[in-house]
Symmetry: C2
């Protein structure tokens, strides 16, 4: 077998749909695991029907399910249940993102799964996890972004509620799920025993609140949205230039000094009101005004060169087109392609985990059509 | 040895500072690994000096470094280099988040590290990764949030640039780092060989853009900030009520129908302009107006009960105080404590990865003082 990734040899039974679970199994597939999507016969994964479409195929589905296989199983039919149980017995990892209770209704709760295969790692990703008072509630990314506090610190001061522009509720749950699943695989290699990994999206939102919790508990003030500004490091935000906004992140005294030198405003760094990070944070509005007075005399690209050459972290605010075309993003193989029979060449985000000794192919196997790999999967069982 | 997590028995040499690396090693420590922070003698990890402070101790540092040990090593002193090399030889995983080139300058590039310990897993987390044209550039979270596109889709339409309110650039890089490191550990158990895991923060930002790339490449339109609204599902956003805003996420036809029934506005679901998700997305402004006309007649808490009871995903927009006090968040053990000699009881976010067979302690070992574990670490080497 060609070793395409460190997880070669591991088989994942993927009952997950839409985003959080499929994101986790995408990472596992990118790392070399064999991922078999078990889909309902009637339409499969809901995400197959989410736009935008390319020649009738969902770009959303295709990007999240590249490199996976698909078998459609009706878990109400005895024959398909036998096939599914065969997969459970022979597989290493099972991932699902149903609401707690659903697997039990199907007859495949953790107790039954571990009876079928005591070595199975069962990754259950849900809105609120399998314990606690909200466990049976339905959740989407939008709901946990609201409940988990990230929306309360995102946005312009005093603005309407602002969502993080991508589904970080789903995606971080997928990533914590991967971490839990792989740690359980490591444990299994020593103990021979499987485990259930229970990841709730709301928990993950709490886990990524970073310094917001410390600021609230340490200072007793409830953190609020600050636009682009960092709560405790200044200058560390977006600034206007003559044309576009740019990011400048002068995270310490030396960098602040260098920034003021680079834009020929030594008066700013010698100003007593800006003499320490705490003072700069307190007087951030005046500091921003002073810096922008100079920054607005030249274009973004000129300033990025001048400030970047001075060694001060800075950068443009790229739109999605600029990201997709960026030379470094492409040099890092972060825009890859798949070849789909109907949709043709489809570009999507690549794998950000680069590991020595393994290839990082810029073309990956396309997402499967519903039930496309039935024969290969059934063959796996008869091996 | 008590088994506190699936990674018990693995030792992590942690040279990382501030956020992305320490976040990764915090996850590893939460999962049971022994994490030894190797810090510079002069002040240690920069984050020890970041506010807010509790009795002189950084709440930021304490929350990210709970459960780790610390040894201060001057890598210019031959004696300390010998200790460090002893750690590399006996350790399993090394994590650092320096700019590429720094480890080589210290004499500990990947080549040298793997010579010292061919089984070592080396996790290098950096702004732009170890290859590509920007590799030597400095980056902070703020810079990659700007360059990676997430800021271009976050914020109110037409507003000033808006940062995601927590450092998702660092945190997602930490999580992808953990996934890569653990996959390499799994591979090592079979091959006996270590590997270098190279994770760039900018790459990770691209990897979490989700449907934004598909929308741009599929439709040719550059995605823009949409406030709290989902780009392709409607209604799926924040709505005003008589007092607070709430989230309603009616992600399919059945849920939309139920929502309109629950708020006694069947006229909305029978309106031809709202007859499909595509039509609702197209006519989102009028739909929002119609819904809010009714929602503004009662308080948030009343509507959340009515809409939630109807099975429609919904929730409040909690601030950090509400998150920390939430009954489910606490039932899931997502607010834990450590006991610090000077700072006393410190509360912080817990571990969102719940694994059967392992405890999830609500009190964890506090973050170490600088060099606090020198003796224990030196003892480890003489074992």
């Amino acid at each position: 077998m060609t070793r395409t990734g460190p997880l070669n040899g591991l088989t994942v039974i993927d009952m997950s749909r839409v985003l959080a679970g499929p994101y986790a199994t995408m990472v596992l597939a990118d790392l070399g695991a064999r991922v078999i999507k078990v889909e309902i016969p009637d339409g499969g994964d809901d995400a197959r029907h989410f736009g935008p479409f390319v020649n009738g195929k969902s770009a959303y589905f295709m990007s999240l399910n590249r490199g996976k296989e698909s078998i459609a199983l009706d878990l109400k039919s005895p024959e398909d249940r036998a096939t599914f149980e065969g997969l459970v017995v022979s597989g290493d990892i099972l991932v699902e993102n149903y609401r707690p209770g659903t697997m039990e209704k199907l007859g495949y709760g953790w107790e039954r799964l571990s009876e079928l295969n005591p070595k199975l790692i069962y990754g259950a990703i849900s809105g609120f996890g399998h314990t606690g008072p909200y466990r049976t509630r339905a959740a989407y990314d939008m709901v946990v972004q609201g409940m988990g506090g990230i929306m309360s610190v995102t946005g312009q001061p005093g603005s309407e509620p602002t969502r993080v522009g991508t589904s970080v509720g789903d995606i971080t749950a997928g990533l914590f799920g991967v971490a839990g699943i792989l740690s359980a695989v490591i444990d299994r290699e020593r103990t021979g025993k499987g485990a259930m990994v229970d990841v709730g999206m709301l928990d993950c939102q709490v886990a990524i609140l970073e310094n917001a919790i410390g600021r609230y508990l340490g200072e007793g003030k409830i953190p609020e949205p600050l636009g682009s500004r960092h709560p405790s490091i200044t200058p560390f935000e977006a600034f206007a230039t003559k044309d576009e906004n740019i990011i400048i992140a002068a995270g310490n005294e030396a960098l602040f000094e260098r920034l003021c030198q680079a834009i020929a405003r030594p008066d700013i760094s010698s100003d007593a009101e800006f003499a320490s990070n705490d003072l700069r944070t307190k007087n951030h509005a005046r500091l921003k005004h002073e810096l922008e007075t100079t920054l607005c005399t030249r274009n973004a690209s000129e300033w990025l060169k001048v400030i970047g050459d001075a060694g001060v972290p800075c950068g443009p605010i790229n739109n999605i087109k600029q990201v997709v075309e960026d030379e470094h993003v492409n040099a890092r193989n972060m825009i890859i392609t798949t070849e789909d029979a109907e949709a043709g060449t489809v570009r999507m985000a690549g794998n950000p985990i680069k590991i020595s000794g393994f290839e990082d192919p810029s073309e990956r196997k396309a997402a499967p059509d519903l039930d496309a790999d039935r024969q290969a999967v059934v063959d796996l069982l008869s091996d």
